[in-house]
Amino acid sequence: MEYTVGSIAPIFLSPVIAFVINAFFGRKLPRQGDWLATLSIFVSFIFSARIFGDFVFGQFATDYYIHKVFTWFDLSYGTQIYKIDMGIYIDNMAAIMLVMVSGVATLIHLFSTWYMDHDEKHGRFFVFLPLFTSAMLGLVLSDNLFSLFIFWEIMGFCSYSLIGIYNKKEKAGDASLKAFMTTRVGDVFLLLGIVALWTTLGSVNYVDIYAAIAEGKFLGQTVLGISFATFTALCIFLGAMGKSAQFPLQVWLPDAMMGPTPGSALIHAATMVTAGVWVSLRMYPLMVLGDITWFIAVIGAITAFGAATIAVVQTDIKAVLAYSTLSQLGYMIMGVGVGSYNAAFMHVITHAMFKACLFLSAGSIIHSVHEQEMPKLGGLRKFLPYTHFAMMCCTLAIAGIPFFSGFVSKDRILGDALYYGFMAGQNPLLAIVPILGFAGAGLTAFYMFRMMFMTFYGENRTHHDDHGHGHGHHDAKGHEAHGHDIHHEHLDVRQNVPLLILSVFTLGFWFCGTLTGQSFGKVFGAKTEWFKVLVEAPRVERFVNHPRQEFSKVDTKEAAHLEHAHYHHQTGYAGPNPDEHKLHSAHTIGAIASIIIAFAGVFLAFLMYIKGSVKPWASKFPGLTKVLQNKYYFDDFYIEVLIKKGLLGLNRGLAWFDMGIYDRFAVDGWAAVNRVLFKSAKWFDNVVVDAIGVDGTGVAVNLFNLVLRIVQSGKIQFYFIMLIMVLASYIWTVNI
Amino acid sequence: MNQTVVSYLSKYEFYDYLLALFGNNQGVLAFTIYFLLALIIIGMCATIGGLGTYAERKISADLQARLGPNRVGPYGLLQMLADGVKMMTKEDIMPFTADKALFYLAPLLCLVGVFATLAVLPFAGGFIMADLNVGIFYLVAISSFVGLGVFLGGYASNSKWSMLGGMRGASQIISYEIPVTISILAIVLLAGGMGFGTIVGQQGGLPHQWFLFHNPFAFIAFFVYGVGALAETNRAPFDLPEAESELVSGYHTEYTGMRFGFFALAEYIEVFVVCGVAASLFLGGYNVPGITIDILPVQAAQFVIFMTKTLILYYVVIWIRWTLPRLRVDQLMSVCWKYLTPIAIFNLIGCAIWMVVFNGKSIAELVLGSH
């Protein structure tokens, strides 16, 4: 097979073309161009599928990759090399990711044509959707951190537009702004990391970075007292945290459900959030070198567990799904942290499949019933049979029931976490990682089945609906009217077929070749697990002195001299592991434990919401429930303390400072502001910090406020002076 | 490498003698040659400018069935000298509210902008001071000093008439620069270079070899250029910045004596330059029909041909001034932006397509079948 630019570029370009056409001429096209968007993504899918087929169904070769480069600009002089290459880098992981993204996006587009029908924002929605997808595809294709950053930012912009697409709703506007601003925090760090890498290595190409790691160029360099590798790895991971909504920066993702449900599906499943995991995986050797994997694992575990606890008390069906996304992202990040590269990536893929399906199902429900509060739903099983089937499959998958995909990937992550936490001889405190992971798994099973049972089982509660929205005239006739309204769900191509296709891929054997995910029960005569064989952490020493491929070169897989994969069953490529039996036993224990935990969660949900023999525990722990319903007060903390008290109050203080009106009232006001700040910080200390267990934040808040007070003066020239000062201090402190 | 008059002269033997005379110092010799020639050109242009005032009066008198100046010298020919002496001996008045520094600077800017364009004007094949690679582009760029001088002159006087005239003048000059530039672009496209040597060299001596008749678009472009150039030099019917009946005397209301003289001189020389550019861009420039050998007499013939074409155009400019009435301000703007600019862009596109479709051949070449 030959690979030219012409066979790769359409993956990225065809959605871009659709975006341009829809943006300018969308209103004049029939159906406002939604067919064009869908078709363009489908074209991407065809091209990706070709690459996928070639990479996967060809001989298994882990080390094969396509890398095409051209120099965008070159600022090097003498022996100092500073250049930015642009190019395409496709290895097995990218091939799998491409086909997943384009495939899921195609189905989501198809579904959206049904969902957004007759919506006032129909045209605008189909402008941003292809751009969003193309940015993700471009991100996957890109061969360096710089172009990755460009696509990263395009995605940020698109998510902003998609979340706030109903721009008449104030909440949607706020949510979009929140998403944009929160991810900015991470992006700043990502850019910092990229620039730091660029100034040191002279290139931000993945391949060059791998080679530099292998050659030991990172050794002995320090920035601000910490090792350079740690610094850059931390910066890049902080960027990933912003995008993948990890623990301190998670607040935007649940609000992102303000947009249309298919948009949420795209944000939560195939694109955007997985970008963070993607960059963590790409930079995995750097993370290992920088020795921050424990940090990654802890952050992932905290997110996985914390989000799961919040999801337990949510009543909005989309909110449950949003928090479950957060929780699953936590698992992926945890997987990266505990070193199960392969399983983390597999979880990205499987999660994309079932989460897209779940969101689309939720969209189907919402569009049919016009209700998304779970206590007002129920008994929809009869009315929405296809949706029910699809959603059940996905719920089984996400809950970690054997034979389904979620079990395979999550179980492997948990197995590795178990090994990492207890047996690998790490710091004993890290045992918190598998503990939180397993607890989160149990909660996942519980809340997902809670959602299923409240939505599809029991009696139909929709006729209690009495607040007046646009469908009041249906409600007036009560139950029958609603039954009439939704009774006729027949197999609609645009509504149900995407769900059913996606639900097929919730089965586990697609991904591991066996029914169970363990080493028995092979189907289709699969010789080995293709996924595990193909995806491995990059072996950096391979990239030393790699030849640079020009952009116009034609690749053929036949021409490449490949060593075929020699896969060792449990240890991957790393050769015999001394702790092999420990790893094996950890996986066995993990599998059994997770099955038990999952079924326990399902059983508990069954008891609570179907049998009714156990009362929901919300009444037993009112305080905890309140904390959970308020999402651990994170939003309040950010808005009330950091922004309102911090920025706004102190800006007012600064207005005084600027104008030079220095009188008693101002001083008093200043003191009052300070008192309020101190109180809120104290409250924060007592309530939040102790609850979560991170110390010292309160003090940090006070200091932070003090700095912000001075800096946020609103005087542009003052900002400029600060900019120069920061630049100068950077240059004077860092020895260039 | 840019061709210059020095590099042209260095082909001849006497250059070596001169070089020996200057102690083999190339720099000093080149400087001397340039300086002398520049003095000659400026003197010539000043004379042409002076004669321009005379010619203008004579021609206008002719058109209006009057006699015109006839007292000073034979046929009033010395009138221009009298004018010059009058300007020098007039008292120099500056309004006390004026911005003094800028009041001094404004005529200088006009003068610099006009004189610097003379450096690239192709008088003859060898007699072109510097055939810069960016020739016509340089000319367009450097002549925008004039607009600045007009604006600053109007501003610095701190008189309402001047200010209005300066604002109008600057906005008129910059507006009409666009159609002119785009028309020139069409010619650059046809010629395949920006240097005057290239542009003139692509044409021939006979009319069918001129860019004017190269294709229909270039033909239109000539007229767009002509109208735009008239407006850029503030000539009637576009003399709004100095419209006597509206603005007294426009941006130079407050200027007297020598400084007014500089403005006037700059204006007349600019008209000459603009005509010269039109002649060399569209009308074949200095090409002598049928002669391609390069000897000094031919150079003289080239000079004569160039001056003839330019002066004919100069006559046309004066003719237009005394024939057409002045435009209104809104008409001025709509002529520029709604007629000339779209037409100029259309011409540019037309020329580009012509180049590709007919492979750069002119109509005559297509018809006559020559290559």
Partner: protein, 101 residues
């Protein structure tokens, strides 16, 4: 006399003067003048490097685009200044406080 270093020094002086103009002036148009100086310093550096270090004309292209962008920036910036003046009757930079609260 004419070496890369002298060009770099001139551009540095230009940059610093532009910086000082930007900080010490309170008139927004004057601040824009400072920005023009800074942009010119950058463009001059590009061309100097293009002559003395690299063998290609990429530096010229860069400075060409810097000039283009400077023109676009001046156009938009001055439009904003004029609009600001129409609303607030001032072009003092410290009175541009509409986005503060």
């Amino acid at each position: 006399m004419m070496s890369l270093a002298s060009y770099l020094i001139i551009s540095l002086i230009l940059f610093v003067v532009g910086l000082m103009v930007m900080i010490s002036r309170k008139n927004i148009v004057a601040i824009l003048l400072g920005i023009e100086l800074i942009l010119n310093a950058a463009a001059l550096n590009f061309v100097a490097y293009s002559r003395y270090v690299t063998n290609n004309l990429d530096g010229h292209i860069f400075s060409l685009f810097i000039i283009v962008i400077a023109a676009a920036e001046a156009a938009v910036g001055l439009a904003i200044v004029i609009r600001f003046f129409q609303i607030k009757e001032t072009i003092h930079v410290d009175e541009a406080t509409q986005l503060r609260n």
